[in-house]
Amino acid sequence: MNAPVKIETTLKDWETDQEVRWCPGCGDYAILKAVQRTLPTLGADPKNTVFVSGIGCSSRFPYYMESYGFHTIHGRAPAFATGVKLANPDLDVWLVTGDGDGLSIGGNHMMHVLRRNVNMQIMLFNNEIYGLTKGQASPTSRVGTRSPSTPVGSFDAPINPCSFALGANARFVARGFDVSKKLPEVLAAAHAHEGAAFIEIFQNCIVYNKDVFDAFAAPKGAEDQQLWLEHGEPMLFAGGAKGIALDREALELKVVEVTDGDWQAADVLVHNAKNRSIAHMLVEMPFGPFPMALGVLYDDPRPTYEAAVADERERATRGKTRDLAALLATGQTWTVSGTAADPV
């Protein structure tokens, strides 16, 4: 965006008159509130804000935001959002998608919006299931997920959304979860990033995949399993009793005990959000032996696609005028007067 004017709004200003139609207790409610709480802190302007979504439970989101909204077709939201952004780069575009919408039918578009680096916030609600079509296994479902389409358990290997994003050359990758108090901070960091900002938000589908994230995202008692990353801060969790260090021989991460808060003695890593190698290691950390890496895992901006398009336009049009009559008469022409033709 071109130096947007900051607007005073409250959470209420971002609520529509539409009846919210998610299941009672769905994690989407918490995410909606987190977004409506975050936007006023950013000074966001409802008239310049566009929520674009695909198809699925998550993609009903735009109807509940008092801004401009476009509920499109399954998997293609990144392509629509790219068109919106190219037509008017001043708009603040938020993309809402899910694990099925964004990584299955729309995986191709997700890859390309990330590698092009179109400036927008991409919220991927990951509930590891197809909700709106009544509970089939999704591309992020863990092996063994029982569902109507996988009655004895799914057997295809799941994809890790943040690994996918890094692999597609995303320059901002973050994680949060629906009921986390820290979600607004993560959203704000994504908004501050110039370029495509990818946020995986773990979301509890209470009907078809209830509490699958409880081991790290339960409202109470799972805090020890959360590693909240902050640029320049040591990678500590479990109240500072444990940390993440680098096994320099195996070139992989390890969990270390921290005694008396002396994390330096335990060789705990300091998070550098611009370090792509560490980002890869953090997103790949297996949960269980390791905590769940949350917050801004990677943030290293590079020029946006819109900037490149504007630059190309500037170079391509330099010294040219918009003269339609001259354009139509381009190339080898001749004039006819009477019956004789004379080359021009």
């Binding site: 310049n48 037509a87 008017n88 139509l328 080898q332 004789a340």
Partner: protein, 644 residues
């Protein structure tokens, strides 16, 4: 020089039009040769029409029958509306080119062949057991065969090129001979070569030397032998400025003009596909006209980005060919549902599936009119020629913007690639249709995103407009508020409103392209069949038949008077390059007994075959001579036709 002389050689000088076909290996530069010959023909003031016909492979194995690339041009001192049926002159750069093209040559026509390429190896590849240039099998034509390869090498020798590089100029040598034959100026081609090879002046010089050598050969050979110079006086044309134009160029320029007339930035989302890619290429160079081009990751993203751009206030355009259009179907439905302007250009090719990527067909008509889920009406219009594509592209933009609807513009592989002279239009002669954006509440203090105007169009609001925030999407929505509404009465109402808007699109009354407004037979065409139908109908009219040519631009909705017009004819015959799709639409919409005449060989109609079919149809009409009216869906050409 080997020559065979036909008994009755037609005198080309006495003809008011001549058809020349250049044929060679796909690496021989035949399209380039044809293109430059076209330019020189246009500059000489002849009317013309071209037909580039090339294989789907970029460089098929050398010398093979399937690797032959051909370029046909019909030019004359009268109006030309097709690329011509049978060539008068065939330039064959190798045995495969001769074999695949000679059957089309008129009896007594002239074959110019490069003996240097008629080697044992090339004859084998073309499946010739003996050399046709010497075995007498070409007796019904005149043959002028000599070693073009050797003469080219000789001509470019001073430039120090190896034999392989030297032979690349063979096409220019041949072009030089053709320029001499038809008394054309070499200067524009010299200039073109100097521009093209500005960074490699030695290559430009070599090509110019080859061109000049070919030209000089003509002069010398005329003195000594059978080669004669033919002069073709200019055609009588309306005074004005002219250029040549292909359909792909015309569509691109029409879209740019449409954007300017709508006072909107143009956003073009495309994905590479034959034969539609040329539109992306042209528009990518026109950024100064407020054009943004976006090469998307796939066909679906290309249309979705275009819809996104329309949503944000640009005129979204996407373009493809049959298989790509199929992929865009769901997104077209969304554009119909959210009622945003969008132009979809379909350069049709032979199908189904990958089909015939470089050949022409009109078989996506059902797809255009009916090919979406749900009741999803959309205006469909078709261009009849390269130059007409300019007008039709503007018309598509106008309908899209005025009615807030996607519009499909049909061209085909023939129109996209073919060139014809074009009287350069003055943009000032086109009425602007500036887009109107809604920027304030339209219902007291309320804003209703689906409140329609008299034409049935909903308001267009640019995101960024204060106070008018709203949501749109593909789910059925309330008639006025646009909020999600699945209620039975609402869906029925919305279905009706969407249909009524499209059927209410203002379409100019249908005229008769040739002939009277009533008669015995109406030959009804659409798209690129205009030229051959026009000529064939003209020939029967000269013979006194009560036949007229009606050519339909607006396929959906049809012109309101079409039914009444066709009711004035005893019979309706619909030639088209598919198995009878427009015939079905006419039968359905007008309840008339339209009969079909079809061709699905990937080649355009020939005038003669249409003339014969129309004749047979007349013979079959009760009271005329002959048997019954030919059955519906008669396929042309007959599989047993001599040329096949």
């Amino acid at each position: 020089m080997a020559t065979q002389t036909a008994d009755a050689r037609p005198d080309l000088s006495s003809q008011d039009a001549i058809v020349v076909r250049f044929a060679g290996d796909s690496g021989d530069g035949m399209q380039l040769t044809g293109g430059q010959f076209t330019l020189s023909t246009a500059l000489a003031g002849n009317d013309l029409s071209t037909f580039p016909d090339f294989p789907a492979e970029i460089r098929a194995p050398q010398g093979t029958l399937f690797g032959v690339s051909a370029f046909q041009i019909n030019f004359g001192s009268r109006q030309i509306s097709t690329a011509g049926d049978a060539p008068d002159v065939l330039v064959a750069m190798n045995p495969a080119a001769l074999k695949t093209n000679v059957a089309a040559l008129k009896p007594g026509g002239l074959i110019i062949a490069d003996t240097g390429a008629f080697t044992k190896r090339n004859l084998d590849k073309a499946e010739y057991e003996t050399n046709p240039l010497v075995d007498g099998s070409l007796a019904k034509w005149e043959v002028l065969a000599f070693d073009i390869s050797e003469r080219t090498i000789e001509a470019v020798k001073p430039f120090g090129l190896g034999n392989k590089d030297a032979l690349r100029s063979k096409n220019m040598w041949t072009l030089g001979l053709a320029l001499w034959m038809f008394d054309r100026s070499r200067e524009p081609i010299h200039q073109w070569l100097r521009d093209k090879f500005a960074k490699k002046p030695e290559i430009a010089d070599a090509n110019i030397a080859a061109l000049d050598a070919g030209h000089a050969y003509g002069e010398t050979a005329e003195l000594a032998g059978p080669l004669r110079q033919v002069s073709m006086p200019p055609v009588e044309s309306a005074p004005g400025l002219y250029r040549t134009i292909t359909g792909a160029e015309a569509v691109s320029l029409g879209l740019v003009a449409g954007g300017q007339l709508a006072e909107l930035p143009l956003f073009f989302g495309g994905y590479p596909i034959t034969p539609a890619s040329a539109i992306l290429h042209h528009l990518a160079r026109l950024k100064e006209f407020d054009v943004t081009t976006f090469q998307a990751e796939d066909e679906i993203a290309a249309i979705c980005a275009a819809i996104g751009a329309s949503y944000a206030g640009s005129l979204g355009v996407t373009s493809s060919s049959g298989p790509g259009i199929a992929l865009k179907g769901e997104a077209m439905g969304l554009a119909i549902m959210v009622e945003l302007p969008l132009v979809i250009v379909n350069s049709q090719r032979g199908g189904p599936s990958t089909g015939l990527p470089t050949k022409t067909e009109q078989s996506d008509l059902y797809q255009a009119v009916y090919g979406r889920n749900g009741d999803a009406p959309m205006p469909v219009i078709a261009a009849r020629s390269p130059a007409d594509a300019f007008e039709v592209a503007i018309e598509a933009c106008r309908i899209a913007v005025e009615y807030m609807t996607p519009v499909m513009l049909l061209t085909d592989g023939y129109i996209a690639n073919a060139a014809e002279p074009w009287k350069v239009p003055d943009p000032a002669n086109y009425a602007p249709f500036p887009a109107v954006f809604c920027d304030k509440p339209n219902d007291g203090d309320n804003f209703l995103p689906y409140k329609r105007d008299a034409k049935g169009a909903r308001p267009w609001v640019k995101p960024g407009t204060p106070g008018l925030m709203h949501r749109v999407g593909g789910i059925e929505k309330h008639e006025l508020t646009g909020n999600i509404d699945y209620s039975p009465a609402n869906h029925q109402r919305m279905t009706e409103l969407r249909a009524a808007k499209v059927s209410g699109v203002a379409v100019p009354p249908q005229d008769v392209a040739l002939g009277d407004e009533t008669g015995e037979l109406a030959v009804v065409g659409w798209g690129s069949t205009y030229g051959p139908i026009h000529q064939a109908v003209g020939r029967w009219r000269e013979k006194g038949r009560k036949v007229s040519h009606v050519h339909v631009r607006h396929i959906w909705p049809l012109p309101a008077n079409l039914g009444e017009l066709l009711a004035g004819f005893d019979h309706v015959l619909v030639p088209e390059m598919n198995t009878g799709q427009f015939k079905t639409v006419l039968r359905d919409q007008l309840l008339i007994d339209a009969q079909s005449l079809t061709k699905t060989s990937g080649q355009p109609f020939q005038i003669a075959e249409l003339e014969a079919a129309i004749g047979a149809y007349f013979d079959g009409i009760e009271g005329n001579e002959g048997g019954e009216v030919p059955v519906n869906k008669q396929q042309l050409p007959s599989p047993l036709a001599e040329n096949e």
